[in-house]
């Protein structure tokens, strides 16, 4: 009986004293490789300089073709003209879907616009 008690005390002391980290160390440890693809460096483009105000400026109001943009763009034009009557708005709707690029439109904007609004409307 005395021996059993002594053994229980010994076991208790052992479990308390045995460092958790040593138990953990018995688990296998692995080195896992990084699965991420390689992100390229990104060449940044500065934003175009801003006009001081929009009076007599040409603003392209571009509808990329999402459902609500047919309503949003005309309303935006009306509201902008109410706020700044001298602003000149040019409305353009992408001829192709929002899935397809239209380089000619961007070329026109670069050549003719003082600023542009691209309405995602989504």
């Amino acid at each position: 009986m005395k021996r059993e008690r002594l053994f229980s005390i010994f076991l208790g002391v052992f479990l308390v004293a045995f460092p958790v980290s040593l138990i953990r160390a018995q688990e296998p440890v692995y080195e896992a490789l990084n699965p991420r693809g390689m992100m390229p460096g990104i060449k940044t483009t500065p934003l175009s300089s801003r006009p001081a105000d929009l009076r007599n400026k040409v603003i392209y109001n571009i509808n990329i073709g999402k459902p609500a943009a047919d309503i949003l763009c005309p309303e935006l034009e009306t509201a902008l003209k109410e706020a700044i009557p001298e602003v000149k708005i040019v409305y353009r709707k992408k001829q192709l879907s929002f899935l397809t690029d239209e380089p000619n439109l961007w070329k026109e904007v670069a050549e003719k616009a003082d600023a542009a609004i691209l309405s995602i409307a989504d």
Binding site: N34, S97, T100
Partner: protein, 416 residues
């Protein structure tokens, strides 16, 4: 733009090299009935965005260099690795096989290509670069075996080659389907028979799972960040199978894609939903059933009909070649112009694709825009827009009509 897309807009702006492009955010959600009010409420902010002088950071041109990540991601126990990968957003939510040096080295034995070789310069949804070793690491994570490595490399190539970028980001919860043809399918242990589209076969399950891990890790996809799937799609977890060429009465799929019968290929399709018949009919009745179902596939730029070999054999015995079936389905899947012009985002996607094509291909004739409303129109653009596959275990006269389009097929053999 709507505040539901703030994060994806930032990701896209950075990708395009304009991280500071000015955005005016309007409250979610934008509907026809509320958009006028939201447009007006945003006007002052728009004027400010157009006129406020540029900050120094907005004027800068240069190169944003990405941090080089260390080759070893973590050293730890199995559970520590699982937790780290989950927290890093490097998994699909399920436990992974740790991609240890040893496991990856073993996986690389499945190809003769060197670990550092670039598989694709630009993956998706983000245009990141993928090497053979990175493909192997993700393959290990998915549970793939070395003999499947050429298929994995071909999948990555097909995904990058196909018109899939927008679908990977879309709110519409698109998913990708991988079909393997040729001798490599059996060599990789893939199932083309009973329950081929379901669970049970380790090769189908792990190859399909690898595709999602590729998008996650090789292309940086993450729900809510640049995967905006509103509801989601269970086939995103895993969706790969082989065609049952041995039991098909017709030429295998890759032959129609311009490959030889004995060539191994991977074809990746995009879409995500299916309709299935209870069957019980044969011959032309099956095809009329399929026409009815094909009619209701949204955005009918393409669809895929998967026949059980029994159904395919009966059709073949009735005299139908694969081409005959495609022609029959194309000719007989019709609806009135009035019905055609409703739904499917007709004005948003169908009309522009009639005017300018989709992904460089012509769609429907321009007459579709103007013919009287009661004119019967063919719903599909061309017979080849309806892909035919033969898969299954011949337990039933079955077929499935999948909204799966734009198959992009590449050779597996070159990745051996």
């Amino acid at each position: 733009m709507d505040n539901a897309f703030t994060e994806i807009a930032q990701v896209a702006a950075e990708k395009e090299g304009m991280p500071f492009v000015r955005r005016v955010i309007i409250p979610h959600e934008v509907l026809e009935e509320n958009v006028k009010v939201k447009a007006r409420a945003a006007v002052n902010e728009i004027i400010t965005a157009l006129t406020k002088p540029l900050a120094e950071e907005e004027k800068k041109a240069g190169v944003i260099k990405q941090e080089e990540s260390s080759r070893i991601a973590i050293k730890g126990t199995l559970s520590e690795i699982q937790e780290f990968f989950q927290k890093s957003r490097w998994t699909d939510g399920l436990p992974i096989i740790p991609p240890t040096e040893k496991n990856v080295r073993e996986m690389l034995k499945g190809t003769s290509h060197s670990p550092g070789e670039i598989v694709v310069e630009k993956f998706l949804p983000e245009p990141w670069k993928a090497t053979v070793e990175k493909v192997a690491i993700n393959g290990v994570m998915a549970g793939c075996k070395p003999e499947q490595m050429p298929i994995l490399l071909a999948m990555v190539e097909a995904l990058a080659k196909g018109p899939f970028g927008a679908s990977a980001r879309s709110t519409t919860s698109f998913t990708f389907m991988t079909v393997v043809n040729g001798p490599m399918a059996a060599k990789a242990g893939m199932n083309s028979g009973i329950n081929a589209l379901g669970p049970g076969n380790p090769a189908n399950a792990s190859i399909g799972r690898a595709l999602m891990l590729f998008l996650t890790n090789l292309g940086g996809s993450w729900p809510g960040l640049n995967d905006t799937s509103s509801i989601g799609n269970p086939t995103k977890y895993s969706f790969a199978f082989a065609e049952n060429e041995a039991r098909s009465p017709w030429e295998p799929f890759q032959v129609g894609q311009g490959f030889k019968r004995n060539e191994s290929t991977v074809s990746v399709f995009v879409g995500g939903w299916y309709l299935s018949s209870p069957g019980w009919v044969t011959g032309k009745d099956v095809l009329y059933d399929i026409c009815r179902e094909l009619k209701y596939v949204p955005l009918p730029w393409g669809a895929t009909v998967i026949f059980d070999p029994t159904t395919a054999r009966l059709l073949s015995e009735a005299g139908f070649s694969k081409k005959d079936i495609q022609n029959f389905l194309w000719e007989n899947t019709t609806m009135t112009a009035k019905e055609f012009r409703k739904g499917w985002g007709y004005n948003v996607l169908v009309v522009p694709s009639i005017k300018g094509g989709i992904y460089g291909k012509k769609t429907w004739p321009e007459s579709y825009l103007t013919v009287p409303e009661d004119t019967l129109l063919k719903v599909y653009t061309h017979p080849d827009a309806i892909s035919i596959l033969v898969v299954g275990g011949e337990t039933y006269l079955h077929y499935e009509v999948w909204k799966m389009a734009f198959p992009t097929t590449v050779s597996v053999d070159k990745w051996n």
